[in-house]
């Protein structure tokens, strides 16, 4: 007799763990299968930005609902996840860039979203005193912040287990087959039957989708990050750029995390990445120009997490188009950490009730059909 569950969640990143928690909170019995351990890849090693700023319109509803959860994260998972809210600032490096930002903020207001706010030189200097003189302004999202990614993912995992979810780590899904009214999920350690399946397999989610006969244009990427030794506190908000790739954040312990999307070479079958130092040098030069105070800082570590990037840069969230009872939740395209709490709630709602009020139609997998 195979094991049974109400839902099999594939993937132990923040999304899978959040969905498992929200399913358990609804009284369902989820089993989560993770091939390594929870938070081993992108969810555990990302930059930790909790950002609504500068998101694609299609995912703003999920981002806004996630933000509400982040702001009371300790109530949900029993751990503050290191979440601190000092805002995210998108810095404009020229007047032309600032004009473009203004157009976007105006457009968002017309659509009813007010979290992005245009700021001029004075307010930029007040928020980010260390920024270089050449920057004329930017956009701030004041409720944004940052959290500790591995700790947050582990907190969701722990609370999910406390609420009745089962976690199976170090086990790989090898097949999916419909067996009457249930799905039979074959794994490297036996099979599990459940009426519902959630595909939250991150950089490996295309393989699950392919098992269902719905190929997706997913690229495996590995955004690089580096961290400095401790410096005296000099910046509170997270800073991002548009024209050049940079995200920049000082943690409470004084270390500075530098990212922004330059890519390493991923080897997803070996869980390995090979860094590209010439690209990291570009980040170093950008920081050099933007924050002169950083020039003698010491880089102590660089790394990259393996994750999925969709052809259009936005995630796949919603029911499978080919397979009843299967729901997708992947492809967050290097900005999925903040979306974890809210998307887990929405997918759990979908699984349990077949519907949700949060608009996610633009994220459907059907958009890739020729």
């Amino acid at each position: 007799m195979p094991r049974t569950a109400d839902v099999v969640v594939i993937g132990g990143g923040i999304h899978g763990c959040s969905t498992a928690l929200h399913l358990a909170l609804r009284g369902l019995k989820p089993v989560l299968i993770e091939k390594d351990y929870a938070g081993r890849h992108a969810s555990g090693v990302n930059a930790g930005g909790v950002r609504q700023l500068a998101r694609d319109h299609a995912e703003i509803p999920l981002s806004v609902s996630s933000m509400e959860i982040w702001e009371r994260i300790e109530d949900l998972v029993g751990d503050d996840c290191g979440f601190e809210s000092h805002g995210t600032v998108l810095v404009a490096e020229s007047d032309e860039e600032l004009a473009g930002f203004r157009a976007r903020v105006d457009d968002l207001r017309l659509k009813g979203f007010t979290h992005e706010e245009l700021i001029g030189r004075a307010e930029l200097r007040r928020l980010v005193p260390a920024v270089s003189e050449h920057c004329p302004g930017g956009v701030v999202s004041r409720r944004d912040g940052a959290a500790d990614p591995f700790r947050a993912t582990q907190a969701f995992r722990r609370r999910a287990v406390e609420q009745g979810a089962e976690m199976i780590e170090g086990v790989t899904v090898t097949g999916l087959a419909r067996n009457g009214n249930v799905w039979r999920v074959e794994t490297s350690d036996g099979s599990i039957e459940a009426p519902k399946v959630v595909n939250a397999a991150g950089a490996w989610a295309d393989r699950i989708a392919a098992m269902l006969g719905e190929p997706v244009p997913l690229t495996v990427v590995a955004p690089m990050l580096m961290v400095t030794s401790r410096l005296p506190a000099f910046i509170q908000p997270v800073v991002i750029l548009r024209g050049r790739k940079l995200s920049f954040k000082q943690l409470g312990n004084g270390t500075v995390v530098i990212g922004g999307g330059h890519l390493a070479t991923p080897y997803r079958d070996r869980n390995e990445t090979v860094l590209d130092w010439e690209k990291l040098a570009i980040s170093a030069r950008t920081v050099w120009e933007l924050f002169p105070v950083m020039r003698q800082a010491t880089i102590v570590r660089a790394w990259a997490g393996i994750e999925a990037y969709m052809a259009d840069g936005i995630p796949v969230v919603g029911p499978s188009a080919t397979s009843e009872g299967v729901f997708h939740q992947f492809g967050f395209s290097t900005h999925g950490f903040q979306l974890g709490p809210g998307t887990g709630a929405v997918v759990a709602e979908l699984v349990a009730t077949e519907s949700t009020n949060v608009p996610i139609a633009d994220l459907a997998i059907t958009r890739f059909k020729a």
Binding site: Y37, S229, W277, A281, A284, V287, W288, Q296, I299, W303
Partner: protein, 468 residues
């Protein structure tokens, strides 16, 4: 030499200028392999021959004839045609053999067809209560100061630990005129039983007579006390050493406590390159899995010398030659080279006494797996108790431990705590070090400044983006 004088690629990059690196570079370059050797110190020699050619210690008897043997290796390497770059810090090596190196603040990426990692050994962590106090340092650090600057400790000095290097250092310091109050010998008595079976091999090795002579020399001048628990006390700096002996607790006032529990492979660079490692249960450390030519699991990357498992300086040079010969056979198949069989025989003779030394000088568990408030990770000030408690909560490995406690995430990149953390987790979870594993090591394996990284030459694509 400046970073800009380097070629963008070399047939062979040797990393580390100790005996293995020097011997490897010399042999390869003589056979016509285009070779560069990067060494981070101001002069070649590594730890064992540190300061060879520049040391202010003129009296040859102080450091001993084995030390001066390094001069021949160094001059052979210099004459070989290899490019030898000192003050060159290698901070990255990837599986494609792209080498990140920094020279006088200038960084470069160098592509290598073959790499020989000869980064040698480092001292095993010796986490006792008070080991972070000023006035407590490793015996190796004292030896470095003696060789490089001719510095001899003054004040009341105590040496504690076990291992062949402990006796060598004690002898060198005594010859240089240092006063040593006592040697606290931590060799567990039971180790003599375990080592006895390896004694016949050891008696045939070159270390036998040398070792006995060293012991006699030191014991004639310094009281040697068997101790099984050691605590360093002091407010802002070391004041007193308290230790347990067979007949009860004793205390001695001290200005300097030198700790030594043997050396272990310095694995950071090889691990960061993705080289597979395994636990050596005899030497109680991780070492790369190597073949007979010291090739690793990563194509084109060899690890020679003590970095491939501790065997001492003479063996290291032989290993370097064997690794170089494998490179020559691939890249310059027609070159005239020495007989490989002879090298293997020399190496086997050198390695012969190792089992005895490993068994005899295996540090006691209580010195490797601390308890309570004793600091395990110095950089982030993480205690043994924190590590044990976190393991009890379900933390299964060093990488999760990093995320929970930040241990291993400071500037030393785990060199001073890696083995301690692995052993603590293994003990707490009733697992094995092999099972628990080591930190996943991330480059840069040596810290570099943002300015250095920014100094990397721009890529073609980046230059075009700016011109446009």
């Amino acid at each position: 030499m400046n970073a800009s004088d380097l070629a963008s690629s070399y047939e062979l990059v040797v990393i580390g200028g100790g005996p293995a690196g020097l011997a490897a570079a010399a042999l390869a370059a003589k056979a016509g392999v285009q070779t560069v050797l990067f060494d981070e110190n101001p002069g070649v020699g590594g730890q064992i021959y540190r300061g060879i050619g520049t040391t202010p210690v003129r009296n040859r008897a102080i450091l001993g004839e084995d030390y001066w043997a390094g001069a021949a290796l160094a001059s052979e390497a210099r004459a070989s045609g290899a490019t030898i770059v000192n003050g060159a810090t290698v901070w990255s090596l990837d599986p494609n053999r792209l080498v990140g190196v920094s020279i006088s603040g200038q960084a470069r990426m160098i592509q290598a067809q073959r790499v020989i990692v000869a980064t040698g050994s480092m001292e095993r962590p010796f986490p006792i209560p008070g080991w972070t106090l000023p006035g407590v340092m490793t015996a190796g650090a004292a030896q470095t100061a003696l060789k490089a600057q001719g510095l001899v400790p003054t004040g009341r000095t105590i040496i504690a630990g076990c291992g062949p290097l402990l006796w060598l250092l004690a002898a060198q310091l005594l010859r240089a005129g240092a006063g040593i109050e006592a040697i606290l010998d931590t060799t567990p008595r039971i180790n003599w039983l375990k080592a006895a079976m390896h004694l016949p091999d050891f008696a045939l090795s070159p270390y036998w007579s040398k070792g006995l002579a060293l012991l006699r020399e030191v014991k004639a001048k310094v009281p040697v006390i068997a101790a099984h628990r050691i605590v360093a006390h002091g407010k802002d700096k070391l004041a007193e050493v308290v230790f347990a002996t067979g007949t009860g607790e004793r205390r001695m006032t001290a200005d300097l406590l030198l700790l030594h529990h043997g050396v272990v492979p310095n694995v950071n660079l090889a691990m960061a390159a993705g080289v597979a490692h395994r636990w050596n249960g005899r030497q109680l450390c991780f070492e790369p899995a190597v073949d007979a030519d010291f090739g690793t699991s990563v194509h084109g990357i060899a690890v020679a010398g003590d970095g491939a498992g501790i065997a001492g300086g003479t063996a290291a040079a032989e290993r370097g030659r064997i690794a170089a010969l494998a490179v020559i056979q691939t890249l310059k198949p027609g070159a005239t080279v020495p007989n490989m069989q002879m090298m293997r025989q020399t190496l086997a003779r050198e390695e012969m006494g190792r089992a005895f030394l490993d068994a005899l000088y295996q540090p006691a568990p209580s010195f490797r797996r601390p308890v309570g408030d004793t600091i395990a990770c110095r950089c982030e000030e993480v205690t043994a108790k924190q590590v044990r408690d976190t393991a009890d909560l379900g933390c299964e490995g060093p990488n999760q431990m990093k995320a929970f406690l930040r241990c291993g995430m400071g500037p030393c990149q785990g060199r001073l705590c890696g083995l301690t953390i692995t052993e603590l987790i293994a003990e707490q979870r009733r697992s094995t070090p092999q099972e628990v594993g080591y930190y996943r090591l991330r480059p840069p394996v040596k810290p570099i400044t943002l300015a250095e990284l920014a100094s990397l030459p721009k890529t073609e694509a980046e230059r075009k983006a700016v011109e446009r």
